[in-house]
């Protein structure tokens, strides 16, 4: 068991690093560096979960977010040519207003959270992190179970996969016209492939 002082120092250190990396992930101009900052931010939040005795959550965080999502982002960046973000310069007024609004929200949220006594840490100790218990809860059909959201999540992922393939598919599949023409012949695979090649990078909508 870590002593309370060390614990506090670790917590604030990790939190500061997470916030710093999150700001970097948003502000860095090089996409790859931003992705790396994101990766660092996610792994340090996994550290926060460990400090909070949620080891399972930390493991999932590393597996899914770092192992899956960030790696996917890095692949996407490396396989496309958009290594640098298209510069977007908001008007100074918009920047100032945005900053003020964010500061205001931060201030209000911090104030509200400071003045609230959450019952969690008062009544119970740290939660027991039991993978078996989590698994049982996810498939529990009773009043305390989470069967419905668990099953709905699978549908959500299915929709995301279908949507992703439809939107990201570069070339029409064989025999399926790119343009649905009913009985008429649509664009075939070669035609749309040629169109894709003809697109000059840097042109088109940002």
């Amino acid at each position: 068991m870590i002593s309370s002082a060390v614990y506090t120092v670790m917590f604030y250190g990790l939190s500061a690093a997470v916030i710093l990396l999150a700001v970097l992930a948003v502000n860095l101009r090089q996409l790859l560096r931003a992705a790396l900052a994101l990766m660092g931010m996610l792994s340090l939040s996994a550290g926060l979960y460990v400090l909070l005795h949620a080891e399972f959550l930390a493991g999932v965080q590393v597996l899914v977010y770092i192992g899956g999502i960030v790696v996917l982002i890095v692949f996407a960046i490396m396989l496309t040519r958009s290594s640098e973000l298209l510069e977007d310069h908001p008007r100074p007024l918009a920047q100032v207003l945005g900053a003020l609004l964010s500061m205001f929200f931060l201030f209000v949220a911090a104030l509200a959270l400071r003045d609230t006594r959450f019952p969690v840490q008062v009544q119970t100790g740290p939660p027991v992190d039991d993978v078996r218990q989590i698994g049982l809860l996810l498939l529990d059909r009773g009043a305390t179970g989470y069967l419905v959201p668990f099953e709905l999540l699978s549908l959500l992922l299915l929709v995301a996969i279908i949507g992703g393939t439809v939107i990201a598919r570069k070339v029409a599949p064989p025999k399926q016209p790119f343009t649905t023409g009913g009985d008429a012949r649509g664009e075939t695979i070669t035609e749309s492939a040629r169109t894709q090649r003809d697109i000059v990078p840097g042109e088109g909508a940002p």
């Binding site: 209000v108 949220a109 104030l111 509200a112 959270l113 003045d115 609230t116 006594r117 959450f118 019952p119 969690v120 009544q123 529990d140 059909r141 009773g142 009043a143 305390t144 179970g145 989470y146 069967l147 419905v148 959201p149 709905l152 999540l153 549908l155 959500l156 299915l158 929709v159 995301a160 279908i162 949507g163 393939t165 439809v166 939107i167 598919r169 029409a172 025999k175 399926q176 016209p177 790119f178 343009t179 649905t180 023409g181 009913g182 009985d183 008429a184 649509g186 169109t195 088109g204 909508a205």
Partner: protein, 483 residues
């Protein structure tokens, strides 16, 4: 067991379409839309005939109540009409073909998945289900908005929608997280019980965050900024579904959260809701006046309509809830009827400016009549259903003491009459300077317009529907944690 059967039917239809699509060729894929229609009709029939208006399943995690029954009917009707309106575009029967609208099996199945999400949304009894089903209802809409692959506007619509939708979801999750922290429960009833009494400052933070998230879905000003571009860029049949589906889901979500969790805190927000309502109506109306693109015009019309919905939250729940539900019904029918004409006109001529509708009353009097009827209903002209719906909402705000707001709403109603009449003027009064070739007709769109026009015309006159909704809501409110 029977309360979940409609959901299962819709879900089974979605999967059947998705799998059948794999084994079909381009010629036989025209049967996919009728299959979706058949599935939805069967689910609707089971819902109306067989499903009781109360009950609980899976340990109370999936429940049915009277207001939810009405919501589910509305969701399924919206989807049914949306499928009917999409058929011509997707099957290539349009005279002016839209490019890049392929993948019919995927299109119809994720449309149905979205309906399933909405149906689970109204049956949800815990935060996790509420959030996941809201995502399941909206994620397909992001994808559908970006469906036209080779149209940059459609891609832009999808991207804007997904980014701002994610922001809204982040607000909601943050709010839900705080609620869980305050109560240590995801069960809506338990949360309401534990929150009752003294309100911690974090409660108001959570409430504001969830309100903002619901505002995004309902296109409440200042959370409306996605609407215009998404409505304009998305394929028109998708816009039609989006304009009613997203709003209905947003309202269902607002009902769940406001009445189930926040309960007695609602009166504290009266002033805030009134300001939002006034802003939403006014901005939507003023910007709608100067629009030329009919889809953009309908987007701002939809924003201003959202302002009228908010009036229902001001009064007592016994009056507000039935009035909002009734207006939702009216709005869905009227808006879809307008979109039926827009889609048909775009299919036939490929045009979408308000000025293009010049002389429609001569070339196709029936379509022009249907559109006029629907526009008048949206404007709130008696004796059409829109008038009655607005009248209920205005009287609630008036009873709650917001006379100034009612005056603003009445002025806005008059402004909206002006811009809805702009379209009607193009169709009926403006002289036709050239001989426009008469647009053809379409079975599916004509059928849906006929199906929609009847309720638009008579819902306001027949009291039975409103009475049904009213009785349902009383029963629904009686089942609330705090009554």
């Amino acid at each position: 067991m029977s309360i979940i059967i409609p959901e299962i039917i819709v879900l089974a239809t979605a999967f059947a379409i998705l799998i059948a699509d794999l084994f079909m060729n381009e010629r036989t894929r025209v049967y996919l839309a009728p299959a979706a229609v058949a599935g939805l009709l069967l689910a609707l029939a089971v819902m109306v005939v067989h499903t009781p208006a109360s009950g609980a399943l899976i340990g109370g995690r999936f429940t049915m109540d009277a207001a939810g029954w009405w919501f589910k009917i509305l969701f399924m009707i919206s989807a049914l009409i949306a499928v009917l309106l999409s058929m011509d575009t997707l099957d290539g029967r349009a005279r002016v073909r839209v490019r890049g609208m392929g993948f019919r099996g995927e299109y119809y199945s994720i449309l149905l998945f979205s309906v399933v999400g909405m149906m689970f949304l109204v049956s949800a009894r815990d935060l996790a289900t509420l959030f996941v089903s809201l995502e399941l209802a909206t994620l397909p809409l992001f994808v559908l908005a970006a469906w036209r692959r080779d149209d940059p506007k459609s891609g832009e619509a999808g991207l804007k929608y997904v980014v701002l939708g994610a922001l809204a979801s982040a607000f909601i999750v943050y709010g839900f997280g705080i609620l869980y922290g305050l109560t240590q429960s995801t069960d809506l009833e338990t949360i309401a019980q534990r929150l009752a009494g003294e309100r911690a400052p974090a409660f108001w933070l959570a409430a504001a965050l969830v309100l903002a998230g619901a505002g995004f879905k309902l296109t409440i000003v200042p959370f409306h900024m996605w609407a215009a571009d998404v409505y304009q860029g998305a394929p028109t049949p998708v816009t039609a579904y989006l304009s009613v589906g997203s709003k209905a889901a947003g309202l269902a979500f607002a009902f769940q959260v406001f009445y189930r969790i926040f309960g007695d805190a609602l009166p504290h927000w009266d002033m805030l809701i009134a300001i939002f309502a006034a802003l939403t109506m006014t901005l939507g109306n003023l910007v709608a006046i100067v629009q030329h693109d009919i889809k953009r015009f309908m987007a701002f019309s939809a924003i201003s309509q959202a302002g009228y919905f908010l009036l229902g939250f001001l009064g007592a729940a016994e009056e507000g809830v039935p009035a909002m539900l009734f207006y939702l019904l009216v709005y869905i029918f009227s808006n879809l009827a307008v979109f039926a004409c827009i889609i048909w006109f775009e299919n036939e001529t490929g045009k979408g400016q308000i000025e293009d509708y010049r002389g429609l009353s001569l070339s196709n009097p029936l379509m022009a009549l249907g559109m006029t009827l629907a526009l008048f209903s949206l404007a709130g002209i008696p004796p059409l259903s829109g008038f009655v719906g607005k009248f209920f909402l205005f009287s609630i705000a008036s009873k709650a003491g917001f006379h100034g707001l009612v005056a603003v709403a009445a002025v806005n109603s008059t402004i909206s009459l002006y811009y809805y009449l702009r379209v009607v003027r193009q169709m009926y009064i403006e002289p036709v300077d050239e001989r426009v070739p008469a647009p053809g007709s379409s079975v599916s769109i004509g059928l849906s317009l006929a199906l929609l026009s009847v309720p638009v015309a008579i819902l306001g006159i027949l009291p039975t529907v409103y009475e049904g909704i009213h009785a349902a809501t009383i029963a629904w409110l009686a089942s609330m944690p705090q009554g």
